[in-house]
């Protein structure tokens, strides 16, 4: 897997996060990080289950874990976190070009 600056190591790190968060349904990449050589940050869309028990806590936890990962690998992650229902409306400009990074089987 090779999109712009996205590496196999990053994919493995993100999939590791995914396995530890069962309420996280999918992770997608989009934006300049995946298309150009001069990205400002790495845009990720995280889709979480509609019936997550505590969406606010989940948002905080995901933000924290990606902040820690970003500091470790020197990348600024810019997260958009949406529920499945919100995601279904395809609200992002680049929704048609989302790059699947990690999805539940």
């Amino acid at each position: 897997m090779n999109f712009g600056n996205f590496t196999t190591k990053m994919m493995m790190e993100i999939r590791h996060i995914h396995t530890s968060k069962p309420e996280l349904v999918s992770v997608f990449g989009f934006g300049s990080f995946f298309r150009t050589d001069t990205p400002s940050d790495c845009d990720l869309l995280l889709v979480v289950k509609d019936d997550s028990s505590d969406l606010g806590k989940l948002h905080a936890e995901l933000s924290s874990v990606f902040l820690i990962l970003g500091k470790r690998i020197s990348i600024d992650f810019d997260l958009t976190i949406l529920t499945e229902k919100e995601h279904a409306r395809k609200p992002l400009l680049e929704h048609k070009n989302l790059i699947p990074i990690s999805q539940l089987a």
Binding site: A60, E86, P91
Partner: protein
């Protein structure tokens, strides 16, 4: 890029822009910022508003619930510039709690209202129009 002083990744330029815009508003008599992204505002009639400064292209329900948990005193959430917005779920949740949820195109109009959480533009048919994502 985050300035490292808040856990929401809001840059200083975004915070400074919002703080300045509120200070210059004609219906605002007092402004004080704390916790990097929280701005206390008093309208001319004494109504107190606690604004949370965010910068989100598409603010969803999960982010609103996190904001409520981390900043229970907040009753106004700014999502940032005109190109930013929010989902219908996020707006409905905020309306149910009498919390304003706006991007910068709506900011000025909302601050003129006593019931600031109810402000909205109208479409050609007179229906509420929101910067939904």
């Amino acid at each position: 890029m985050s300035n490292g002083e808040n856990s929401w990744g809001v840059s200083f330029s975004r915070i400074a822009w919002l703080e300045d815009a509120i200070k210059q508003h004609g219906n605002v008599s007092f402004v004080k910022r704390h916790d990097d992204i929280v701005i206390e505002v008093e309208q001319n009639d004494g109504t107190h508003i606690t604004v949370l400064c965010l910068d989100e292209y598409a603010l969803g329900k999960a982010a609103v619930l996190r904001a409520f948990k981390e900043f229970p005193e907040v009753n106004f959430i700014s999502v940032g510039g005109n190109w930013n917005g929010y989902t219908p779920e996020a707006k409905e949740l905020c309306l149910s709690k009498q919390v304003g949820l706006y991007n910068s195109s709506e900011l000025t109009g909302a601050l003129w209202k006593d019931e600031f959480w109810k402000f909205h533009y109208k479409d050609d048919d007179g229906n509420p129009s929101y910067p939904y994502k």
